[in-house]
């Protein structure tokens, strides 16, 4: 396993995000369509968020704005998962946050 494969997969996903900016269908998806047909789609509340419906900015072309939002999402997902590399420290970090590290050490020694 080398870094080349990882890098090429991230490039591939950016390419898919690029394609989806131009080609993705804007029709409602399965659950939304069922909600429309059965008449309960109005119950849904639109929440506020950073990029609503994968739109980076209202000011630019919708396709380009979707591509930017997609690239942002891909990078943020990769870095969130990459931070799992610190998971060996996780117990220590949680213990420090809740100030139970001394107690945990004493319990481990017994």
């Amino acid at each position: 396993m080398n870094k080349k494969v990882i890098f090429s997969l991230i490039l591939l996903s950016i390419f898919i995000a690029f394609l989806s900016g131009f080609l993705a269908s804007s029709s409602p998806d399965g659950l939304e369509k069922v909600a429309e047909n059965l008449g309960f789609s109005k119950v849904a509340k639109q929440q506020s968020s950073v990029f609503i419906d994968y739109n980076f900015s209202e000011a630019i072309n919708p396709a380009i704005s979707k591509i930017f939002a997609g690239i942002f999402g891909i990078l943020i997902i990769y870095f969130i998962i990459h931070s799992f590399i610190h998971l060996k420290h996780l117990k220590v970090i949680i213990a420090k946050i809740f100030r139970i590290d001394n107690w945990l050490d004493r319990k481990n020694k017994e």
Partner: protein, 242 residues
């Protein structure tokens, strides 16, 4: 099938969030156990007197293969996130997109796969308003638990029964087909329990729409696994022939 806020009532939101958190905690413990190992005694001996002061939790370290496993998880997560953006049209002015649970489970194993899908769903909910924050527990239960961990065992059982190339393709096909169907059925159950819609109406509607999406999902998953094998990505969820 990201459930937006408003479809679920409070008791269903809270119950599904609790169940999702319990299963994800189990998955995280499994992955952590697989990826960490104790620091060898010989290294500790070098620390001499200091070694007695090192706490038990600090004596664990990442195994050698752990870093590449985590990078694989990240790469497959960004791939599935991009694939979920790509809505393809199906009949009657409806669109569908990939779920990716079986792809994640085949690439990095079912427990890491569930963590991957849960991370994707959280980012979609927080940054892109795709799926409500209150409904995040239900979405994780539908897609990461039912659509990834449980449906991986369909592949597992089918592959164990046939034990050849045919069994592998049939297993991947049915696992990814049923991952979409079962996730949509779980979604229908949750919406019906919340009293938003009668169960007898929403179940056939959800299952029939997602049957079409499920076939597309199965074809995309088989294609994606072939691509991953061709670029020499080591798939950890695939059962090897003895």
């Amino acid at each position: 099938m990201h459930i937006p806020d408003g479809f679920l009532d409070q008791k269903v939101s809270a119950g599904t969030a609790f169940m999702a958190a319990a299963v994800l905690g189990y998955c995280f413990a499994k992955v952590r156990q697989a990826l960490t190992s104790l620091v060898p005694e010989s290294v500790l001996a070098g620390a001499g007197q200091m070694a007695a002061n090192i706490s038990e939790s600090s004596k664990k370290t990442l195994s050698t293969f752990a870093e590449s496993h985590i990078m694989k998880m990240g790469a497959i997560a960004s791939l599935i996130f991009a694939a979920q953006m790509f809505n393809f049209p199906i009949n009657n002015g409806t669109s569908g997109h990939m779920l990716g649970g079986i792809l994640a489970a085949l690439a990095v194993g079912p427990f890491s796969g569930a963590l991957v899908i849960a991370a994707i769903l959280s980012v979609q909910s927080i940054f892109f308003a795709d799926g409500g924050l209150m409904a995040l527990g239900a979405n994780i239960l539908n897609m990461a638990v039912v659509g990834t961990v449980i449906c991986y065992y369909i592949y597992f059982i089918v592959n164990r029964t046939f034990k050849n190339k045919f069994g592998y393709y049939i297993g991947v096909f049915f696992a990814s087909f049923f991952s979409v169907i079962l996730a949509s059925v779980a979604c229908a159950f949750e919406v019906a329990f919340s009293g938003t819609m009668e169960f007898s109406k929403i179940l056939p509607a959800m299952a029939s729409v997602h049957a079409v999406i499920g076939i597309a999902e199965a074809l995309i998953t088989i294609m994606a696994v072939e691509i991953l094998i061709n670029i020499k990505f080591e798939l950890e969820g695939i059962i090897k022939d003895e």
